[in-house]
């Protein structure tokens, strides 16, 4: 079935393969970074794509968990110690992610990836303005895209409940980006949601220019954002989060309602996880 947005992105065959834990460290409060040495996936995975990770060998948790990739280092990367590694950033929220925090260096994990359709870059050659919006751990999904398009002007909006939920600021500081931060309790930056923050800066984005907007975060955030970027000069994509059964299109458990006439429920894992804002049914 074609993607609802009609995109044709280069398709890499997913691998089911073992990887070795090279790092598992807490970065702040409930957020951790897990590094896995897995060259076949690290070589191929594109910004916005994801992996399915089997956290334990027993049935607890039973299903794999999806993670978008935060940083990847292909085998030809100059930093020798990171070659062939991929890093995910995860939030300890339940039993599964709690178990993840106990994974030790050297542990073998089974991965499936690269999966899904990643972000579609602006057409080339481009001097496009790029807006990245991330809510909570969602900012991690858009970060690799920023790294890949560092030569363009980036406006980055990072939001979280408190300052403990603000991630990747140091990473973005190293890129050619203008960073805006918001927290719902006002403990850091603008007080309010990341969508409120974006609206407060709306005057920067003039109607005579085109903006390529990439967002990731919880559904209520994306829905609120959808209502504010309807004007034609925003070309907007969202990376969606969903409960997934398999991650590779077999079970139809992770669907989202789209404006597709024949098949309104499309798979986040296969047709997504990145969708065009205009293709999603936000009602």
């Amino acid at each position: 079935m074609p993607s609802s947005s009609g995109r044709t992105s280069k398709r890499f065959m997913p691998f089911q393969i073992d990887g070795t834990v090279v790092q598992n460290r807490q970065i702040k409060s409930v957020y951790f970074i897990l590094g896995i040495h897995c060259p076949p996936i690290a070589n191929l995975i594109q910004p916005g794509q994801f992996i399915m990770l089997k956290i334990s060998e027993d049935h607890s948790p039973l299903l794999r968990r999806p993670f978008s990739v935060y940083k990847t280092y292909p085998e030809n990367h100059p930093a020798k110690e990171k070659r062939g590694c991929l890093f995910i950033c995860y939030k300890e929220v339940g039993k599964g992610t709690h178990k993840m925090t106990t994974l030790q260096k050297g542990k073998i994990l089974n991965l499936i990836g690269p999966l899904g359709n990643g972000f579609t870059p602006p057409p080339l050659p481009s001097s496009a303005n790029i807006i990245l919006i991330g809510g909570g751990v969602g900012i991690v999904s858009v970060y690799p895209f920023a790294e890949a398009f560092n030569h363009l002007k980036l406006f980055v909006f990072i939001g979280g409940k408190t300052k403990k939920d603000i991630l990747c600021v140091e990473d973005f500081k190293k890129l050619n980006s203008k960073i805006f931060v918001s927290t719902e309790n006002g403990s850091l930056g603008f007080r309010g949601t990341v969508v409120d923050l974006f609206l407060s800066q709306r005057k920067i984005f003039t109607e005579d220019k085109k903006y390529y907007l990439y967002a990731c975060g919880p559904m209520p955030m994306l829905k609120a954002l959808a209502g504010k970027i309807k004007s034609r000069n925003f070309i907007a994509q969202a990376s969606l989060e969903a409960r997934m059964g398999c991650g590779f299109g077999a079970c139809w458990g992770c669907v989202i309602k789209t404006n597709h006439s024949q098949t309104p429920y499309q798979r986040v894992c296969k047709e997504g996880p990145v969708f065009s804002f205009k293709d999603i049914c936000w009602d």
Binding site: M13, P14, F15, Q16, K54, H59, S60, P61, L62, L63, R64, N110, I112, A242, R243, M244, G245, C246, F248, G249, A250, C251, W252, G253, C254, V255, I256, K257, Q262, T263, P264, Y265, K270
Partner: protein, 304 residues
């Protein structure tokens, strides 16, 4: 080891081994081709097909419980015509049997599905899902009433010469009596069990965890109950049983065969380990060698 010692006959189908992948957990086959050679499977069952396309249930559609998975996909499928036109050609290229899973809301729909699939190249068998509510009979599930099941199967039997498998729901008081009436109706085999009706509630939002409130539970959590039902059916009927319910590995598959299953299906396991079925085939082979068992048939119901 001889090549044919895993061979099993179900109706008119001779399977090269007893491992089948079950409906709804194996997409339309092609989703798995990156992970292993599908030709090694005993058979594949398609996603459930209805006469008309179905959009399925609103999300969330799945929820993980202890050792289990609740799903309420809502039988989303492209409908019979689209299935024949765009999904069947892929299956035809495979060197394994295709069993098409069908379901309807009325007797007429089941009969029409069977008729329209009759003689279509590339289809070895039909698996009837009789866990759907009969709208005309006030929503009673076909598969929970032995008499209704008997009459339905008898009519579908007349409409098809393919191997006819009837998939039984475990949500019944007496699985043996349903199995018996399905056998009397003319089915070539039964497959059991489908998922157990189940639900989960989020205590923080006070909302159901799946959009449809009620879903079907699968996975290792249901295995002991499914195994018991296979054994009960085995004592009641003579036609072959395809056993399923939480089979994750070869050891589970062998347990079902010992309980009376001639073949087995794997479902939820495919989602977690796409190579689960192929690893199970290898595991069964190894078990036969280690235990000096010549033919798998000798294991069927051979416990106690």
């Amino acid at each position: 080891m001889r090549n044919n010692n895993l061979r099993i006959k179900i109706g008119k189908m001779v399977l090269k081994n007893p491992v089948i992948v079950s409906s709804g957990t194996f997409g339309f086959g092609e989703e798995f081709e990156d992970f292993f050679d599908l030709n090694q499977l005993g058979a594949v069952v398609s996603k459930g097909i209805s006469l008309k396309p179905m959009v399925g249930n609103p999300p969330p559609r799945i929820f993980e419980t202890e050792g289990g998975l609740i799903n309420s996909i809502g039988l989303q499928n492209p409908g019979l015509q689209e299935f024949i036109r765009n999904k069947l050609p892929y299956y035809r290229r495979l060197k394994t049997h295709l069993i098409v899973n069908i379901f309807g809301n009325t007797q007429t729909e089941y009969i029409e599905l069977a008729k329209r699939l009759e003689g279509v190249r590339g289809i070895s068998g039909l698996e009837m899902n009789i866990s759907c509510p009969n709208i005309k009979k006030g929503g009673i599930v076909f598969g929970s009433d032995p008499r209704m099941a008997f009459h339905l199967i008898r009519k579908v039997r007349k409409a098809t010469t393919s191997t006819l498998i009837v998939k039984l729901s475990p949500n019944v008081t007496d699985i043996a009596s349903i199995a018996k009436s399905v056998e009397e109706g003319g089915a070539d085999a039964v497959s059991l069990v489908n998922t157990f009706k189940a639900m989960a509630i989020n205590i923080h939002s006070k909302k159901p965890e799946v959009g449809n409130i009620i879903g079907g539970l699968s996975g290792p959590a249901i295995k002991p109950i499914a195994l018991r039902m296979v054994w009960e059916a085995h004592q009641a009927i003579k036609i072959p049983i395809i056993g399923m319910g939480g089979i994750m590995k070869a050891e589970d598959a062998i347990e079902f065969i010992l309980a009376g299953a001639s073949a087995i299906q794997m479902g939820t396991a495919n989602l977690i380990n796409p190579r689960a079925a192929i690893e199970t085939i290898q595991g069964i082979k190894k078990y036969l060698v280690q235990n000096k068992i010549d033919r798998i048939q000798t294991l069927i119901g051979a416990f106690g």
